[in-house]
Symmetry: C2
Subunit: 337 residues, 2 copies
DNA sequence: CCATTAATTTAGAACGATCTAAATTGCGCA
DNA sequence: TGCGCAATTTAGATCGTTCTAAATTAATGG
């Protein structure tokens, strides 16, 4: 029942060479003669040899494993992001350790310790809300390469991959203004993350640039239910906005639900625009105008940044920012008079 | 810049004991005297010692790592499933290696080799479409514990965690029949998986049980776009169904879109019911009646099955089937005369 | 105070790979 | 044939932990 693993030594014995030679073959070294290589490869295939990467790492310090920490696995934004990471790392024969911080810094710390124990080569982190800004420095002291993504703490001290939310918000606002909207509200969230800060920054800049009126900022819990509840607050704003830009598509979808419940038809009585362009955006009613960020690409970019740093630990830090694009659908269809 | 890891040996030296003793402390053995334990723990904390699990596994054969392979990371069904696995494994201080097979058996095989190389303790697999039914046996020969989930190949030879789709379809069909529907169609998918077979089985059983008319089975590509395109075929069925039960919520949402485009109002002109009850179901218009399967719980169940088998490798195989429940919303609101 | 037994602690060999440094083999050419 | 140099191959130490078996220390009873 128990299987004894086939080891380098076995292969060496059967092939009639030394362990060291087999090791060279495994690592595709050019030092080994062609006929030896072929013989060894044949034996490896026959015995179904699988190299033990853990044992290898003990000696050469590369586990070909990276850790990814996301705050959430329900929002498909994060899972597409994850998908991009997994794809790029897989192409490079690396493997992904996944963990969910649930946006809890304590849990995030625990996970990082666990990852350290498993000897990951590096980490892609979307920092939990309330993460200690010193964390990147601490990780540097641990000698653990870090790429931050989607959110960022500690100033520009690590590689970073993200979306251009300032530009994205600008696109959305211009679109609304072109459709004649003057009083635009923003549906934000209560969680203090850099992602939130960036969007708010984008909003105020866009207000300045377009000359539209800041019709108010309302905070909701980050869930469609929360957004639905906030519909009332938005409708009761003194400024009576004709359009609402939302923190993300989940909130936008929830808001549309809440508006309809309150007797206002989104896309006709009031324009709603989301951010992220989740698959969901096509399926709401009316279909949601949104800003595509293509999280899969952000994940891929983060993975490439990390791969690059593993290769050259001391290369200067880089930021990889994915450009947004406007997806016009019916929820912004209303042309304000 | 380079950090030399703090090892057991360092801790031992500083604490003035042997490596073996420190190892006992790390593993919380009761064999060590209280005062020694405290001293050692103090030193471990001071030096920021992190146990190298890879090195440990080399000796004791437990990596506290499990592999998970899903066919897809976009459908939130799978990501919630994943979330359940990650949660339960995390509670047990285990770590999850994630990979996406993209429903491709060749890639799946590659991933399994990779996982083997990383010394995973076990695997939770949602088999790709077209997986060799012999795979579970092969994995047994490798000595790699396997839990299948959501889909299954090779007969009942491994632990399995899934949802009761036969029961779920029954719930949905009864609901429709209670609302007066007699001619019910099924929107299926082309991919041949056990998940599909089970739902079709449920459909034909429910037809028999309820005495409703099988108004036809239409196959769509597994995407909302595919489902939208299939609306036409459904509407052109000779049987002119008054209700459509869909393979899952993504198809249901796409179908509703297609129906509306074709001038038929879902929930009023024709009832639509989904399966899975994704978060999405609340956000479509009209909100989608669906059968909740709670993928997070299925993932948790799969994780527990695997944890149990790791503890007792020879315990008899077990099936863990999550019971479905009916979530009534507006898309089935139409009461056929 | 010594013999036993129980409670702690430990030296040293694993685990499966890689690295270093040195040994061996083969080849061209005098 | 024999020498020098490049091309291959290898012995043995090593990575950080756990295991085995034995050694040491403490505790108990007579």
């Amino acid at each position: 029942m128990k299987k004894s693993r086939v080891t380098l030594g076995e292969v060496a014995r059967v092939a009639g060479v030394s362990r060291a030679t087999v090791s060279l073959v495994v690592r595709k070294s050019p030092l080994v003669a062609d006929h030896t290589r072929e013989k060894v490869q044949q034996v490896m295939a026959d015995l179904d040899y699988v190299r033990d990467i853990g044992a290898a790492r003990l000696r050469n310090n590369s586990s070909r494993t990276i850790g990814v920490i996301v705050p959430n696995l329900v929002n498909s934004f994060f899972t597409e992001f994850l998908s991009g990471i997994e794809r790029v790392m897989g192409e490079d024969d690396r493997v992904v350790l996944l963990a969910n911080s649930h946006d809890d810094p304590a849990r995030q710390t625990l996970i990082l310790q666990r990852f350290r124990g498993h000897g990951v080569d590096g980490v892609i982190l979307c920092p939990a809300e309330g993460t200690d800004p010193e964390l990147p420095l601490r990780m540097r002291q641990w000698g653990l390469p870090l790429v931050q993504s989607l959110r960022e703490v500690g100033g520009n001290v690590t590689d970073y991959a993200g979306a251009d939310y300032i530009g994205g918000v600008r696109l959305a606002m211009r679109h609304l203004v072109e459709r004649g909207h003057r009083r635009i509200a923003f549906l934000s969230v209560s969680a203090r993350t850099s992602a939130r800060a960036e969007r708010l920054e984008g909003f105020s800049r866009a207000i300045a640039e377009t000359g539209a009126e800041d019709a108010g900022i309302v905070e909701a819990e980050l869930s469609w239910e929360g957004a639905a509840r906030s519909a009332r607050q938005l409708l009761e704003l003194d400024s009576s906005p004709s359009a609402v830009l939302c923190f993300n598509d989940v909130l936008a979808a929830g808001l549309m639900l809440g508006l309809r419940r309150a007797g206002h038809e989104p896309g006709r009585d009031i324009a709603v625009v989301g951010l992220d362009d989740l698959p969901l955006a096509e399926l709401t009613y009316p279909p949601l105008t949104s800003i595509a960020m293509i999280p899969e690409n952000i994940g891929a970019a983060a993975a490439r940044l990390l791969a690059r740093r593993l290769l050259q630990p001391d290369v200067e830090i880089e930021r990889s920012i994915i450009a947004p694009s406007l997806m016009i659908r019916d929820s912004s269809g209303y042309h304000a008079g």
